[in-house]
Symmetry: C2
Subunit: 432 residues, 2 copies
Amino acid sequence: MYWKPEIEILPRAQLHTLQIQRLQESLARAAQSPYYGTLFRKQGIRPESIRTIDDVRRLPFTTKDDLRSNFPYGFLTVPKQGAVRLHCSSGTTGNPTVIFHDNHDLASWADLVARSLYCAGLRDTDVFQNICGYGLFTGGLGFQYGAERLGALVIPAAAGNTRRQIKLMQDFGTTAIHTIPSYLFRLHSAFVELGLDPQRDTSLRLFVIGAEPHTEAQRQRIEALFGVRAFNSYGLSEMNGPGVAFECEHQNGLHVWEDAFLTEIIDPDTLQPVPDGEEGELVFTTLDRHAMPLIRYRTRDLTRFIPGECPCGRTHRRLDRISGRTDDMFIIKGCNVFPMQIEKVLMRFAEVGTDYVIELETIDGNDEITVKIELQKAWFTGDIEALEKLSRRIANEVRDEILVTPGVRLVEPGSLPKSEGKAVRVIDCRKS
Amino acid sequence: MYWKPEIEILPRAQLHTLQIQRLQESLARAAQSPYYGTLFRKQGIRPESIRTIDDVRRLPFTTKDDLRSNFPYGFLTVPKQGAVRLHCSSGTTGNPTVIFHDNHDLASWADLVARSLYCAGLRDTDVFQNICGYGLFTGGLGFQYGAERLGALVIPAAAGNTRRQIKLMQDFGTTAIHTIPSYLFRLHSAFVELGLDPQRDTSLRLFVIGAEPHTEAQRQRIEALFGVRAFNSYGLSEMNGPGVAFECEHQNGLHVWEDAFLTEIIDPDTLQPVPDGEEGELVFTTLDRHAMPLIRYRTRDLTRFIPGECPCGRTHRRLDRISGRTDDMFIIKGCNVFPMQIEKVLMRFAEVGTDYVIELETIDGNDEITVKIELQKAWFTGDIEALEKLSRRIANEVRDEILVTPGVRLVEPGSLPKSEGKAVRVIDCRKS
Ligand SMILES: [Zn+2]
Ligand SMILES: [Zn+2]
């Protein structure tokens, strides 16, 4: 069962033909923008000279800095009056990154989100509660338009006010939720405080989670806590927002919609493609965006293609979950560390709760790393000896992963500061 | 110039024919809902027996209490799976009021908002910054869909963060803003604090204001402050939200879209129509809503039809600005008072600033009314005698209007508490 079978199960040879055709169209459109127009002329790039998928490697990369330096209209292929929506990153200083959409783009985006939600199992009989920021953040409007297009009953719940979210779920029999994974833990605590059991007292059957990096173990904890399957969503505002790649019922990686996004994985240092199945930086070229096509956009997200075919029959390749971002990486005592590596270790411990934070400090001129970890309520006992033993076990396993021994501080459940939006995982207080 | 000339300048005889036809369809649809189905059967109401506009008086009224008592699905004409959006009022206790929309309803709503914005002068060449809450509040998504349909470039700015709002205006050359009137005063203060002049430093040319009662004098203050024309918008979530009635370029009342809303003005006590041009309670019957038609819905908003034709050529009648709500009214010393009566008096004084609050208290067993008023900066001097004189003048003029003499306390600009959303104008601390 597919939302758009003629695209989703298109044999790869035909998918390639479609990609080439759309790539040429996108390049021709991009050439209308001041930025690519100049660049293509300078580099002698002509859309019709791109004849195979591999030819894409002859095209220049685009980075977030390019977007910022050509703010606000440098990438627009139409007069700004031709656009009907913009989304931009926050911040009151410096140039944000902004993406413009015309009517075609909004329809195309809504269709991609509908396809993605359908792929994860959402149907027009579902009640879909969209718990995330609206406005300039792409998750709100992105999922709103997509879920409406799919035909679900959409509750534009927005973020915050957990008791009210629960009341909405109960009042309207919500069956599906989109939110960030860390919020689901907070939501579960609120159910418990109210003396409610989500499995008994709601009709929840499907979660869509994204916009925040998380491990497989965290997903499984969410699923166990609620008795609800949780599907990973991947997107970024430069590629519209949600609707770039999504898990299907097999939860074995995220199908990336290759009719809309030409997808490469490159070595972030050499900028060459990595061997198939190896990890690298995700690079996208939009294939169906009119107002603001982007060519070989470097996402800074790290992942790999999962080899082989998916039993669901979709021919679009699967991305592994994002293992980190090139700019999340920090260097401590000469070792490159991604926060996700540490999370992966922590999640192996049943004693560990839902929140942790990694602190980097300079102490006596040396850089030190400390991981503060909330324990599960049941494990936060007065047994100091047991806690010390646990700390040592965690420190050892983290060291095996990142090659540096961290300080470990086990803290009471609920004692780490909670952020309103995405969880803050790294606090870097080092003197530069 | 009209958005939908075939409807907007339709001769009234034809408009009536259209209304009758749509009223019959709406009644037939309403009869599919549990609530109206039962009610119509009990009262022997058959859609085809409604043959003239006056026949509408034979139909029952619907109130907010009816909506609440039949929460959540009592008014739905389709299975809930047929709806694709709901909006509901806030609150974590008691039944909210909820309105469901199907795809037809969302398209019809977007079209009404596009028509309204066009009527106020918005064009597809405008950059439209929508400064209001998104999510369940109808202003966000309502104006978003409508302005996109019109083809303007929409910035889904949402509410809050005034500096960022100003940065968006400057970055993208915002020409039009929708927001609540009290926010525009806050916005202007922020411009001043930043050393900016909105007339010199922005491209603003059009404001759309609504969702908060305000006087003509307040509108004129806004227009003078920014050098930008401000157009009144009227809507309520039970009638979708924005897009019910809107001012045209003549700013002489709000054209109510009579092809979509059959509009009556009744005496709230006798429930009979008031003579033409007299004030009463607004009552609407939806004529183009499928999932959840409402019949003779009592808005509790007080206004009147403005007699005569509008020079713009639109044949849809004009409503006067809302003078109050039947449930805003308070009784003090036996007199019925609407907060707007007091605001109207205050706005006559050049010395009075943008914020005021009406406090009701019981002192020594007597009900007392005090009006706390922020003065303009220039007038807040140490000249106590002048301030006392001003207080007395204000108290006298308010007494002439409401027949009760209020206490008047003049306070420093910025000293009254600011609410995040709509301004709170009445604080009733009386012992009941
Ligand atoms: Zn699959
Ligand atoms: Zn007019």
